[in-house]
């Protein structure tokens, strides 16, 4: 019922396109995250869905109801769309009590007083803010404000929830808790939700599916695991995952019947499987990508080189070691290129040490340097 379909959405501000021919499909009761760096068009997309900005081209459907289509002259005003929105600054009206804030959309719709009272109480109960109802929002904390904003969105029973970075203003600890609660709430209410964030960790943990946007385009849409393990291009690969994927520039070549990538400081032999998959690709400049957890660090023992793993290992220098708690991020440098690896124990490693690196063959990624498209 409350699915959302966007076809070819384009929104221009003057000469520059904030969003360009965006296609997006959100299923009923799905939690979809729009993620991307700032200025990528995610908020514009959200505002277009809400009807707060007029789009230049494309169509927006709520279920089988066409709400926006400049070609057909249809543009429902926000008031007529059954969406609720939570803003980054929460937009809590300072002159109303918490009750007044939550009741506001109902009062405007001329719902009768007893019904308003009942619905606001129910929402407040669910959000555990009952004791705040008679207070003015001035002295409330970020977390409480966020709940009020959610309450105001909930009371209307909207078809679609639009959330514009609602967790950005919370402190780190609260954010993790709010993430879980928000997800639980969405499932309890059984609503479709579209959540905008620039934080890929937030996107990965909260979304059923994630739409990665960049420069007004949709780069890839898929489940968190799809995006992490099978990024369609270099941008998605670099954006999703923290610490991010290490990227090494090189040239795809054929040597003795093997497919190799010449990284200048090392000739990396691709596994047999890659050969099959990359049959059609022409030899060209490529990028070898590897996630931090798939880099194996071996310590060089006193003057004696450890056995190179199938010839695919090379020397690197440790630049810096960051302890993140359970694990450490090891910043390395090999042939002028930076790499990041994750290791659970780094007691044997020191900054400045020379070490040997090898990659988990199954987990390497290869991208075309020009188009950025994933080749493997």
């Amino acid at each position: 019922m409350a699915s959302l379909t966007i076809k070819g959405l384009t929104k221009r501000y003057g000469e520059t396109a904030a969003v360009e021919s965006l296609d997006l499909e959100v299923k009923d009761k799905e939690f979809v995250v729009l993620v991307g760096p700032s200025g990528c068009g995610k908020t514009t997309t959200l505002n277009s869905i809400a009807g707060l900005v007029e789009i230049d081209e494309g169509e927006i459907w709520f279920g089988d109801e066409l709400v926006t289509s400049p070609e057909r002259g249809i543009s429902k005003i926000p008031q007529e769309r059954e969406v609720a929105m939570v803003f980054q600054d929460y937009a809590i009206y300072p002159h109303m009590t918490v009750f007044g804030n939550i009741a506001f959309p109902l009062e405007i719709r001329k719902v009768n007083k007893r019904e308003i009272e009942a619905r606001v109480r129910k929402a407040a109960q669910l959000l555990e803010i009952e004791e705040l109802l008679s207070r003015k929002p001035k002295a409330l904390s970020g977390g409480q404000r966020q709940r009020i904003a959610l309450g105001r969105a909930m009371v209307r029973d909207p078809k679609i929830f639009l959330l514009d970075e609602p967790l950005a203003n919370l402190d780190a600890k609260l954010r993790v808790r709010a993430r879980v609660e928000l997800r639980k709430l969405q499932q309890e209410l059984g609503v479709t939700a579209i959540f905008v964030t620039h934080d890929q960790v937030e996107a990965m943990t909260i979304g059923d599916r994630i739409a990665v946007m960049n420069d007004g385009h949709l780069e890839q849409m898929g489940t968190p695991s799809e995006l992490y393990h099978n990024p369609r291009n270099r941008f998605v690969a670099g954006f999703i995952g923290s610490p991010s994927m290490s990227m090494l520039e090189g040239r795809l070549e054929e040597k003795n019947g093997d497919l190799v990538i010449d990284l200048k400081f090392c000739v990396y032999k691709l596994p047999k499987k890659a050969r099959e998959l990359m049959k059609k690709t022409t030899l060209s400049e490529v990028i070898l990508g590897i996630r931090p957890e798939n880099i194996v660090i071996t310590k060089e023992s006193k003057g004696r080189r450890p056995e190179p793993v199938e010839g695919n290992s090379f020397e690197a220098t440790i630049v810096h070691i960051e302890l993140t708690g359970k694990e450490s991020n090891v910043h390395l440098e090999a042939g002028g290129s930076p790499l990041i690896a994750i290791r659970s124990s780094t007691q044997d490693l020191r900054a400045g040490d020379k070490v040997w690196l090898s990659f988990d063959e199954e987990k390497i990624h290869v991208f075309d340097q020009k188009s950025g498209k994933a080749l493997l």
Binding site: N47, A50, G51, L52, I77, P78, Q79, R81, V83, A84, M85, F87, Q88, D89, Y90, A91, Y93, P94, H95, M96, F104, P105, I108, R109, R152, R156, L162
Partner: protein, 270 residues
């Protein structure tokens, strides 16, 4: 550390001197208003009255009663109408921008910079054609119109501080333009209303030229013009004039003392 201390002392002496200089007219006004006509002639304007009397104050109040009421009417009607329109226009210019609205706003603000001198004759002619020349109605209308650009500007700048998300949230929640104004903007407008009203009070209350050219007859005069008429025809009755000036200055003086910070906000365009 010696030089700054010395500098500070000199600064305070200078500031004190300036304070005395600028308060001198007020002092002179007060003491003269408390003197009898005879004492005014016999003493200097700064000496304290030997036989203080309230007679000049009472007499001038009697004369100024009607003009004071007139000015109150002007201020009241002027504030209400120009604040009302200023607030709505400010809302439109700040939150409901449309094609050409910036140009329109610039035109509205330009109105503030047209000197009254060039408008005197056209205004008198216009008011005459409308049949309003000579009575208070002309001034009522004039201040209502002349106050609106200033009020629009004040409301616009203060409404700019209200986050756009308030408006967008209300829109998504189902509120139309008018509901948003009434339920969101208006309750948040206490400060712009105070600032705009105070500026209008001082402008209208202190205005002289428009009252002089547009109104005729004591019944129609605003207080500033009536006060000027207090000077006698043959002899200057300084005590009466000063007492009148006190009555005229009193309301604005009180406002500046208690609400001056709001006026500063208005001038600073905050």
């Amino acid at each position: 550390m010696k030089t700054p201390k010395l500098g500070r002392t000199i600064l305070y002496i200078l500031l004190g001197l300036f304070a005395v200089l600028s308060l001198l007219p007020l002092w002179s006004c007060v003491v003269t208003a408390l003197k009898t006509s005879k004492e005014v002639i016999l003493t200097t304007p700064v000496t304290f009255p030997l036989h203080p009397t309230l007679a000049p104050l009472m007499e001038s109040l009697g004369y100024l009663k009607r003009p004071l009421t007139n000015s109150l009417v002007l201020v009241g009607s002027g504030i209400m109408v120009s604040c009302f329109f200023g607030s709505i226009l400010g809302y439109v210019f700040s939150k409901r921008r449309f094609r050409g609205s910036t140009l329109l706003l610039i035109l509205v603000i330009l109105c503030l910079y047209i000197p009254p001198q060039v408008q005197l004759i056209p205004m008198v002619q216009t008011m005459s054609k409308m049949g309003l020349h000579g009575n208070l109605g002309s001034l009522v209308l004039l201040y209502m119109i002349f106050g609106t650009p200033m009020c629009t500007f004040i409301f616009k700048t203060l409404y700019d501080e209200v986050p756009d998300s308030f408006i967008n949230a209300a829109k998504v929640d189902g509120a139309g333009t008018w509901t948003i104004y009434r339920r969101i903007m208006l309750p948040l407008s206490v400060i712009p209303f105070v600032v705009a009203a105070l500026l209008q009070i001082t402008v209208i209350w202190n205005d002289y030229i428009w009252g002089l050219v547009l109104t005729v007859g004591k019944a129609n005069l605003p207080v500033t013009v009536a006060m000027a008429n207090l000077r006698g025809s043959f002899v200057a009755e300084w005590n009466l004039q000063m007492a009148g000036a006190l009555w005229v200055a009193l309301p604005t003086l009180v406002i500046f003392i208690f609400l001056g910070k709001y006026i500063m906000r208005g001038y600073a365009g905050m």
